[in-house]
Amino acid sequence: MLTERYLQIFVALADEQHFGDAARVIGITQPPLSQGLRRLEALVGAKLFERGPGQVELTPAGKALLPHARRALNAIDEFHHAASAQDPEGVEIRLGLAPEVPASVGAAVAAACSAAVRGSRVSVISAPTSSLVQQVSAGRLGLAAVLHPAVLDGLEAGPVTLMSTWALVPTALYPDDGAALPLGKLQGLPIAVRPRAEAPAARDLFLDTLALHRPGGGTVIVTDERAGLAMAAAGQAIVVTPDPSLAAAGVGRHPLIDDPLPVRLRLVWPQSRTPNALPAEVMAQLSQALETP
């Protein structure tokens, strides 16, 4: 039976001309990709690609069928969109939140979604900025709060919201007196940062700013703020966070003088011609919720 996945494999291989690249584009590994192609070719009764060393090329049969495969995939996408619009339980708003969005701010945006569209069902996922941007582009998410700056090709975006950050510093390093500190004084321990690939532009801006104010102070990669806070409690790292609620015993909270490392957030959503797109005035309302949660 012809499946959506076979068509995805066909189109991705034609675009990438490389098994590994095509597998990455679809988000599967190479063995199922090869197997899917073999099955599709058996189904079609013709070879679609010539396999060369490290590279593949469309056969005449593949070239002839490719436009049909693209059209079929587009039609399936449209079907998915139309199907979700017919959902009798009301509009579903799928919201994505970057992990840097403080819990209370994410909650405020989700609540605003629910308030803005009567009878809507709101579902929320957390994922890194780069993944959220892709999912919004692909129409799998209706909107997302992501880090700025990020590459937003063809997406709509609200204003940039700046959130002040605090330094969470082990009391062993600095007394828990709540005093505002200059970033340059945060020496002696590395600052916890999340992996760069999650949001390369925003992370580089953070790291470049850090390097300007605090040369040689060092950083340590953590998977999330929970890990960062635990490392701070263990006296191993300093955490920079916009989240007013993040706290642990043995860790003091200090404002940073001149707020050199604000977290920049932005709502992104698909262009209005996309099926199921929320109206522009709703997006303005939601951007407001991000600004003043």
């Binding site: 490389h18 690249d21 584009v25 700056p149 090709d153 940039v160 532009a201 580089d204 801006l205």
Partner: protein, 290 residues
């Protein structure tokens, strides 16, 4: 290949567009959204040069004609005549060299006035560049930028673009408002010039030489750190846009036309990672075509 090139741009925090061809086998290509029309910033100086050289070939312009540019009539810019204090008298062809080697805005505007935007549009059409539009020179662009940012002068306007804490004003990077083109158009132009079909032998050599003498090496040239590889390029930079189009000639003589356009997520004036990504993407594309 596309996924690998895309990953290079993703990692640098930029959106990228690319087209690369082998000059000997133009049917071999690497493409990443190569037909999307993008604001080309100072890369417009290359089609302008090609148009100027054609008018020299047809005898409509005299390359040795002397032009005096006074400081008050020259527009601001980071290089070339734009930063000098006194009147400068130069020939049209020397203005062209200044425009290409250091991307001098004052020289480019003077040449564009000589060629004329309408005459240039007709020439580009006749060259087969269907998506390339040279709307106005740098002076017009600066006026437009100042208007859109609501700033008081060009420096303040560029500061708005460079600020990561605010949203870009609407339309500042809109291809419809600026000189624009596609990556495929640019490699077509390079291929036609290098092939000798567009210009006389003398003017062909002039274009090639002025592009080989370009002083900026942090983009495509940085992807080929070997003196044996010759790069003839023209960069373009405007706010978050960073571009270069070039012909890369390998030691054996094999040559490739590459056009790389980028739009960085960050606004900062200096983004060495994006410059390097342009070189890396060009390198990946050329290696694929070899």
């Amino acid at each position: 290949m596309n996924a690998r090139i895309r990953a290079v741009f993703d990692d640098a925090g930029a959106r990228g567009w690319l087209h690369a061809i082998s000059l000997d086998r133009p049917e071999d290509s690497v493409e990443l959204d190569a037909d999307v029309v993008v604001p080309i910033a100072s890369v417009y100086k290359l089609p302008l040069l090609a148009g100027f050289c054609r008018l020299v070939d047809t005898g409509e312009l005299d390359p040795c004609e002397q032009l005096t540019l006074s400081p008050e009539s020259r527009i601001p810019g980071p290089t070339g005549l734009s930063i000098l204090a006194d009147p400068v008298t130069m020939s049209l062809r020397d203005l062209a060299v200044t425009m290409m080697t250091v991307s001098d805005n004052a020289s480019a505007d003077a040449l564009l006035n000589k060629v004329g935007p309408d005459r240039l549009a007709e020439l580009l059409q006749s060259f087969g560049l269907e998506h390339t539009r040279v709307r106005r020179g740098a002076a017009g662009n600066l006026v437009e930028l100042v208007r859109r940012t609501g700033a008081s002068d060009p420096d303040a306007a560029f500061a708005v673009l460079a600020d990561n804490d605010q949203t870009d004003p609407a339309g500042v990077y809109d291809a419809a408002n600026l000189s624009a083109g596609s990556a495929r158009d640019m490699t077509l132009l390079l291929r036609e010039v290098w092939g000798g079909g567009l210009l006389s032998e003398g003017q062909t050599a002039f274009v090639r030489r002025s592009m080989e003498q370009q002083v900026f090496t942090q983009r495509i040239a940085a992807g080929f750190p070997h003196d044996g590889v010759r790069i003839a390029g023209k960069t373009g930079t405007f706010g978050a846009l960073r571009h270069e189009v070039a012909v890369v000639t390998l030691p054996g003589g094999d040559a490739y036309a590459v056009a790389v356009f980028t739009h960085a997520a960050r606004g900062d004036r200096r983004l060495p990672r994006v410059d390097a990504a342009i070189g890396e993407a060009a390198r990946l594309a050329v290696d694929h075509l070899r």
